[in-house]
């Protein structure tokens, strides 16, 4: 994993030194910088040094921001996590019932309409929707605050505890900031959720259809349990399993999609950080980011696995 990350970043065209050194630097100054950043050594020694740093929890120092990558990530990641997690929740809250509803009314116009709606949400390019919505909701209709990141410009952020603006402000009992933070979230969360609703609804629908066709649902109904109960209690829990797996996949998709959304909403998140790192040949930053993203992604999968185990006893044994 680390090796792949390392190689992937080193094959990026160009060199960070030129950006650091500035145009007027002499070749001697460049050499000095290369030495300073350890870029003059053979690649494998660089890799060993990188691994050594990793072992000490040191992700290196960003060439561009000139801060420790770990510190950068610590400040950028919560922003993305907050954004994507709320989007995920919204998508679940909308998408899963939509899928279930669609499955229950399978083949009717309700089914068709929800499918078209869900598919349309998925089909619209995220950056395009973002911009149209910013234009309409902020600029024309004044429904949402300006897209300038997590808080309005002059608001002092609450003391960071979790890095989640909403949570931190709640912890600090700063309700005004909580409101500000929540309002800033509305549009980007809605945009991201729009794209996530479709796959969730689709999976919820198919798995619900599968479950509703299962023998045990028929058996449950044969015991005189009312239809609604059957759907929302007996069937839903079974149907949630594939949805959970999809949740992890969609989370990954949202983490990726955040690059685009963060740019447009001036969201100080890791998507933008990653883009800057990759296009700026900022090796330590890019490596650190990829590593961190992977860890987060793995954690999400672990959480999903745990949730699956809670939902499905068969996985536990």
């Amino acid at each position: 994993m680390t090796l792949l990350t390392f190689v992937l970043t080193r094959v990026l065209p160009g060199s960070p030194i030129d950006e650091i050194a500035g145009p007027m630097a002499t070749s001697q100054q460049r050499q000095a910088l290369m030495r300073h950043y350890g870029l003059d050594r053979p690649l494998w020694t660089q890799y060993v040094a990188y691994l050594g740093g990793l072992a000490r929890g040191d992700l290196g120092t960003s060439f561009v921001t000139s801060r420790p990558v770990a510190a950068d990530l610590a400040s950028f990641f919560p922003a993305t996590m907050e954004l994507t997690t709320w989007a995920m929740l919204l998508a679940v809250v909308v998408g899963v019932p939509l899928g279930v509803w669609s499955a229950v009314h399978r083949g009717t116009w309700i089914d068709h309409a929800t499918r078209v709606l869900a598919v349309a949400g998925l089909a619209l390019p995220v950056f395009w929707v973002s911009l149209v919505l910013i234009y309409l909701c902020f600029y024309v209709w004044h429904l949402v605050p300006p897209p300038i990141g997590r808080l309005p410009a002059l608001v002092t952020p609450p003391p960071p505890v979790t890095g989640w603006m909403v949570v931190d402000s709640a912890l600090a009992r700063n309700w005004a900031v909580l409101g500000d933070a929540a309002r800033q979230l509305i549009l980007p969360v809605a945009v991201l959720a729009l794209a996530a609703v479709a796959p969730l609804a689709r999976v919820a629908r198919t798995s619900m259809l599968d479950v509703l066709g299962a023998e045990h649902i028929r058996a449950t109904r044969s015991l005189g349990i009312p239809w609604r109960r059957v759907v929302w209690t007996y069937a839903l829990r079974n149907a949630m399993l594939p949805v959970l797996t999809m949740l992890a996949i969609v989370y990954g998709y949202l983490l990726g999609g955040s690059v685009l959304v963060e740019t447009l909403f001036a969201w100080p998140g890791m998507g933008r950080y990653a883009f800057n790192a990759i296009s700026g040949n900022d090796y330590p930053a890019a490596q650190g980011f990829i590593l961190y993203a992977t860890v987060v992604y793995l954690v999400i999968f672990i959480v999903v696995d745990v949730c699956s185990a809670i939902l499905d006893p068969r996985i536990r044994t």
Binding site: M1, L8, G107, A123, G256, G257, L260, I290, Y297
Partner: protein
Amino acid sequence: MFADAAYLLRRHPVSLAGVLLLALIAATALAAPVLAPASPLATNPGDALLPPSPRHVLGTDDFGEDLWSRVLWGGRIDLLIALGAVAVALLSGCALGAVAGFCGGWIDEGVMRTMDVLQAFPSFILAMGVAAALGPSLRNLIVSVALINVAIYARLMRARLLVVKHAPYAAAARAAGNPPWRVLTVHLLPNCLTPVVVQSSLQSGWAILTAAGLSFIGLGVRVPTPEWGVMVAMGVPRITAGAWWISFFPGMCIALAVMGFNLVGDGLQDLLDPQRR
């Protein structure tokens, strides 16, 4: 086949709409040289940023290029990206998955762990990294988009293969004297393709979106290539200034094409899975 089509028509008007949509897009893309009133690359300094009018049905962009012509030609490139990326991912993914599932053992371990690593990255970020490393070009764009999907096909293929591998007809084929490679290619692979086909239709839509996203951040194809994603990206800064048409129409095309692919995928899923009929 006809019965299937008739069935689709009656039971799945939505999927049918998807088929028609794709057919329309494919037809206009193919007929672009005939339909387009101008070359997609014909710049005209005097005609820049004209709104839709009878002369320029969809208006013009910054360079005075006729958007209608560009949208038509763009269909070719985007379909090429979608199909190319899916084809590359499908072929390599299926091959890897088939070999892993069939051989098992350390080969399986090796291939699937590699796929795990690929999938451990959020897909767009991986595509971004690969596209940045390769540099922007149509071919590299296809490769980057394909790479992030290889693992999906490999997994799908392997999972399906593990099922059919233990089907009695696989045993029967071996008992009939089929050497292993023949069991795999003649007996097992044809029976693994259904989920792959469904997946590729869905993935084609994703491919267009991913490609457009990469183009938006400057890692996709180069200007002035008439690719929908690039066109949207070019028009995005103009939306707030009122020139909505530049990115609106290519954006709609992306949405329609992706919708088409997704609806067809949905329909295929229903059609190919008799249980769900």
